[in-house]
Assembly symmetry: C2
Homo-oligomer: 393 residues x 2
């Protein structure tokens, strides 16, 4: 186990009706907020009205900025920063899924900063101070409600980049499983598969002696799969939503990587796909992850055997460790299929035209760097190209 | 799953040499501390010197108060409160195990309070404000390094009482597994079994639909048992200590009870034993817990079957659910035996003389209340008496 330093300041308020408390939860921090949201689905399902009512009850003034899209855009973030400065707003309330929350975090970083907020994502800068962010989570998926991460896209340069900082962990996040009953099938599947990836990116490493974190990760993955499949046929199952939603928070709050290295090659590879093509992040992940696994599993065969046995329920007493490992990967593909997620580049309409470009961007090679990506196996752009090609079936 | 509200402010700094950073870790909070510790073992193993050096490097002034004993005494806590007031100290640094940390928390509550600190434990009072506490953990066991709890004893009245409050969660705790290499056999076993109890008190309830927390709890218990047995024969195994120590923190930081009811009858029953007799808390627990299990398992047979199968490795396909549940309890007893912990009242020199008195105190009956204890099965004093008698073998 490696040394670590961990603190998670996010207060999680979880359960039925909890979003109606948002006003009183943020009142200790502020009396004026930027209310940030997406395409307006919260106005259809009543969440918007509940939040507004709760803010008004606490006499919290709010200025609205909607319109966040998946892969949140830098241009709207600039708009939010300007709005906060003009209106002298010191607190961002995100009501939405991961894109809205990531956008809110970027605005929170940008407001007190003299330069362009893109500097934090692209130029290695770190903010001295950020505005506090609270969230009402409307789509369990990215874990952004309790994570240090924000991923945004510059639509002009087709670059999608992430940044991580303790300072942008939300101060409070509300998770009410009832809110998720109206989510469409594909969004449920995407959320579930995104969570799985957040754990797998931390789980498949070469770090040893992490019995505790291995076990916690395995339990969480099993919970996500079991309840994800329940949700696939029953969108209004409160208990299944509760399991999935809280698992999603744990999957990405930085706890399941304590004491270990991490990988994150699949996320890097996927970001280049969804930066160029109009593909959902999770769909890119379900395409690229099994291909990555097949390419790297021999680097740490015991870890893939452990995954197969402890997570995928493969009988572990076979002598052929390689068969067990590959059967684990096959069962992950089966799970993705049952969730109706894509497994190949063809299914998401990506042809091989840009594979080399994406591979060079993913590894930084395109920007004059000789970086390799991934913790389990260090991948060059040629490796990444080979993985894209493996997924091109 | 029940609604919940969770936040854990404790920063955990974990790993080799980390205790040498204690000065810089607490410098942002203070420049003068009460340095609180136990019988002086930290002076023999070099921890004291490392901590002093780190404080001096950061120009942090310190006033010492050693002498904390197991089941920390109210009289020393009063002394600490007086000392802090006299010396105008606003921060408590606990270097020790659970008793030292619990004592530090009580001092932290008492200093800003006009009345007697015992009010918080015995009279239902709550502190408006408390001093911040940091810890260097020298014995992994109680989880107090990241918990909201403090348990202290009033030696005059032979009462041992606990209090819980978010305000007394330490602000930073240092966990260095190397520090634990010199712990004696019995203390290792006590720590390991105490952690197990902290999870079992949360695990055995009637709450349903907690797949995630059930699984996390089961993983943590398996990690503790596996690595506890390694430590039993190899006191200087860094990796096993790392697993056990971090499991101990997770076991009692309030995470593994999220969304569920809790039980805590065994702790209540044990507290009355160690309040009267000179018995280690964990030894009391390993005596009373299997007896409690045998008395209550039929209340929620499926939960005891789940424990037997998922934690104790009992083959789950037998038709006889009762046999599986009882086999799980037997295996827990086997584990305690392998850790050389007691299983009967006789082994810890407690005779039946005070059973009725202890049962009436544990349930509050002795103090004019008709309280029942326990979340899984509500126990009257007669039930508790029967459990003590079951353990009297």
């Amino acid at each position: 186990m490696l040394n670590f330093d961990y603190q998670n300041k996010t207060r999680i308020v979880f359960g039925k009706d909890t979003h109606k408390q948002i006003g009183s939860l943020i009142k200790p921090f502020t009396s004026k907020v930027l209310l940030h949201y997406g395409s307006g689905s919260i106005k259809k399902n009543g969440i918007y009205d509940d939040v507004i009512r709760s803010l008004k009850e606490q006499s919290i003034e709010f200025i609205e900025l909607g319109g966040v899209k998946p892969n949140p855009r830098l241009s709207l973030i600039h708009e939010g920063i300007d709005l906060c400065r003009k209106e002298k707003i010191g607190f961002i309330l995100a009501v939405g899924g991961g894109s809205v929350i990531d956008s809110a975090k970027a605005i929170a970083m940008g407001v007190p900063y003299d330069g362009d907020v893109w500097d934090f994502f692209a130029a290695g800068k770190h903010p001295d101070t950020v505005l506090p962010v609270a969230t009402v989570l409307t789509i369990p998926a990215t874990g952004s409600e309790s994570s240090i991460r924000s991923v945004i896209s510059d639509e002009k340069t087709q670059r999608k980049l992430g940044y991580g900082d303790e300072k942008i962990r939300p101060v409070v996040s509300v998770i009410n499983p009832e809110i998720y009953f109206s989510l469409p099938d594909f969004q449920i599947a995407c959320g579930v598969c995104d969570m799985m990836s957040h754990i797998m990116e931390r789980y498949f490493t070469n770090t040893t002696h992490t019995d505790l974190i291995d076990g916690l990760s395995e339990s969480t993955m099993k919970t996500i799969m079991k309840n994800g499949l329940i949700l696939k046929r029953d969108h209004t199952n409160y208990d299944a939503w509760a399991e999935v939603a809280f698992s999603g928070t744990l999957a990405h709050n930085g706890f399941l990587n304590l004491g270990r290295e991490q990988d994150w090659a699949c996320h890097a590879m996927e970001h280049e796909m969804s930066a160029i093509y109009d593909v959902a992040h999770a769909a890119g992940l379900t395409v690229v992850t099994p291909a990555w696994m097949k390419y790297v599993y021999q680097t740490n065969l015991p870890m893939f055997v452990q995954f197969a046995v402890n997570v995928m329920g493969v009988e572990g007493s076979f002598r052929d460790q390689e068969w067990i490992a590959l059967e684990g990967i096959r069962r992950l593909e089966d799970f993705y299929s049952r969730m109706e997620m894509p497994l190949s580049m063809k299914e998401i309409d990506i042809d091989s035209e840009n594979f080399e470009l994406m591979a060079k961007k993913a590894t930084g090679f395109a920007f004059g760097k000789e970086n390799k990506i991934g913790g389990l196996k260090k991948l060059t752009w040629e490796d990444v190209l080979a993985i894209y090609q493996l997924a091109d079936r």
